[in-house]
Amino acid sequence: MSIQVRNIHKQFGNFTALDDISLDFPTGELVALLGPSGCGKTTLLRIIAGLEQADSGSVLLDGADASATHVRERQVGFVFQHYALFRHMTVYDNVAFGMRMKARGQRPSEAKIRDKVHELLNLVQLEWLADRFPSQLSGGQRQRIALARALAVEPRVLLLDEPFGALDAKVRKELRRWLRKLHDELHITSIFVTHDQEEALEVADRVVLMDHGHVEQIGTPEEVYRHPATPFVYSFLGAVNLFHGRVDGDDLRVGEDTLAHDRRDLDHGAEVVAFARPHELEIVVDPQSTAGIAARINRVLSFGVTARIELDGVNGSTGQHFEVELTREQVKELALADGQLVRLLPSRLKVFEQPGAQA
């Protein structure tokens, strides 16, 4: 089933949680709502579920306006960050709950319920835990049970609110892969909320990036990572190096240094921010060179496959920190030492005009 939201606006006191949000979630896709905490992603998810009421705008489920439909009639599956399992019920009773709450005419027989519960517990690979209580399960197991419980009522859409947020890193990674696999089997339209960019990029078909109640960019993980539309998206998806500068012909003036750029459409004198990922910076050790940004090496961290070099800006960009990723061989070749003065040369530079800051 498809989900559409139209011009959703939500205010909490003076705080605007969602500002005129319109989105389409096509049938069968797994979409991530990604953004920092407080960006409105969870509020949007709860509005779609009906647990929260939008101040204005509408939610369309399968093309029909669901704004006036009660939560229990929306047929959504909702998975909570802290599982929200019924703690006084066994795993079996938790999963059976939704079916048992149906009106008498539609309620399946206990035998049917039993089959369904076992089928779902099989699906989440936890059949052997049917008689346990939630307190006897690990976090990862609880979240899988919560998912089985949500699926028991055969929801038309599945909404997951930071489903792996309360789990430790290793379990989180496992469950991510598992969720993706499950979605590939079930093809149920799913939206999950996360603040973890790696999680979003790894699991989702499409990513919706949100910040301060606005949608910043929508696209496949590849698109948003390769072609970030805004400075926010760029800096949110992975480590970045940031340069504040001013357009000067083919150059950007950053303090006393210059960088080459390829944005021909910018006016002379325009204030810009330029981004480069750590692996897109080159270190030039030649003391005679005047290209790039001057910086001083602070620390060389060479564990792992690649080495990370932390640098402090000098000349004009004092107080700024940079990060460069090189192979260990390159580090050895360049013979980098702490405290050494070098120059940073971006191999790829993404330039954004800073709105409202034009000279």
């Binding site: 579920a49 009906g50 647990l51 939560v71 229990r72 009639e73 959504v76 599956g77 909702f78 909570f80 802290h82 929200a84 399992l85 019924f86 703690r87 006084h88 709950f97 939704g98 709450m101 149906k102 209580f133 307190s135 006897q136 690990s138 976090g139 990862g140 609880r142 919560a146 419980r149 949500a150 028991a152 009522v153 309360a166 789990l167 430790d168 379990v171």
Partner: protein, 299 residues
């Protein structure tokens, strides 16, 4: 009223503190503190309790039983039970709904409601009784109207029941509010998304989660309802065989120098108190156990 769940949790910690040389107090300190608290306990709590039973049986079993099956005593028992039977369910419904409203919803005047719930605790029971006399008494606001319709509240059973309801108002609500606040709304939200309606949520999700706290509140309410003296005394009028509850009956007997009878009836109340304590401890134990079971184990 500190909450049934919090009381039983200190035990393990204290034992660990005691068994370690590094944290153990000297025997002198330990025994001094123990001696002070135990002698205080013996003098002010245990001795009166024993005295009640000793005095009650001073003139032998026959007098004791005679005092208990006296028609006035029996009618006092009946009235006390009636007051408890009416006020406990009323306060149960009120307590659950007030706690629900306060813990799960945001609304104007919430703090006012919380303060108001505490009113019966902060005001003297005698004042509580007087309020009812001023409102429903013959010279009160509603007095003439009530007289016209031949409804008797003050110096009659309805007044006693109302005064009892008033003084036992806060017990259940006070017990449940922190409990429900701590539990949050997530389980109920999960239930509604799964298609449960309001009654189903109350019955299958909310009540099972608060059952021990609720039971604890009911026990306290019941104990207070049966033992209340001040407020009931003001509205009762002390009509023998009609508007006397057990505590009032004890007072009347005592004032008439029927000490054995007074203590015999008092021993009933004392036994009620002991039974209450036993049940209360059991509930606390159960609550602490289920609380421990529900604690998150690290994932």
């Amino acid at each position: 009223m500190a909450g049934a769940t919090t009381l039983k949790l200190g035990g393990d910690h204290a034992a660990r503190f005691e068994s370690r040389a590094a944290t153990r107090e000297t025997p002198l300190v330990k025994w001094t503190i123990l001696a002070i608290s135990l002698s205080f306990f013996a003098l002010f709590l245990l001795m009166p309790l024993i005295a009640v039973f000793v005095e009650a049986l001073r003139k032998g079993w026959d007098t004791y039983l005679a005092a208990l099956i006296d028609p006035d005593a029996l009618s006092a028992v009946k009235l006390t039970l009636l007051a408890a039977i009416v006020s406990v369910p009323l306060n149960l419904v009120f307590g659950v709904s007030a706690a629900w409203a306060i813990a799960k919803f945001e609304f104007r005047g919430k703090h006012f409601l919380i303060t108001l719930i505490d009113l019966p605790f902060s005001v003297s029971p005698v004042i509580a009784g007087l309020i009812y006399v001023l409102v429903f008494g013959a010279q009160g606001w509603l007095g003439p109207w009530l007289a016209e319709h031949d409804i008797r509240i003050i110096f009659a059973v309805p007044g006693i029941v109302m005064a009892t309801v008033f003084v036992t108002f806060p017990f259940i609500a006070r017990e449940l509010i922190p409990l429900m606040q701590a539990q949050g709304r997530e389980e109920e939200e999960a239930a509604v998304v799964l298609g449960a309606n309001g009654w189903q949520i109350l019955w299958h999700v909310t009540l099972p989660n608060i059952k021990w706290g609720l039971l604890y509140g009911v026990i306290l309410t019941n104990a207070r309802a049966m033992g209340e003296f001040g407020a009931v005394s003001v509205v009762s009028g002390h009509i023998r065989g009609e508007t006397n509850t057990l505590p009032l009956h004890v007072e009347i007997l005592y004032n008439e120098y029927q000490f054995a009878g007074a203590f015999a009836v008092a021993s009933l109340l004392a036994m009620l108190a002991l039974v209450t304590l036993v049940i209360k401890n059991w509930v606390e134990y159960q609550a602490a156990r289920s609380y421990r079971d529900q604690q998150d184990i690290p994932s």
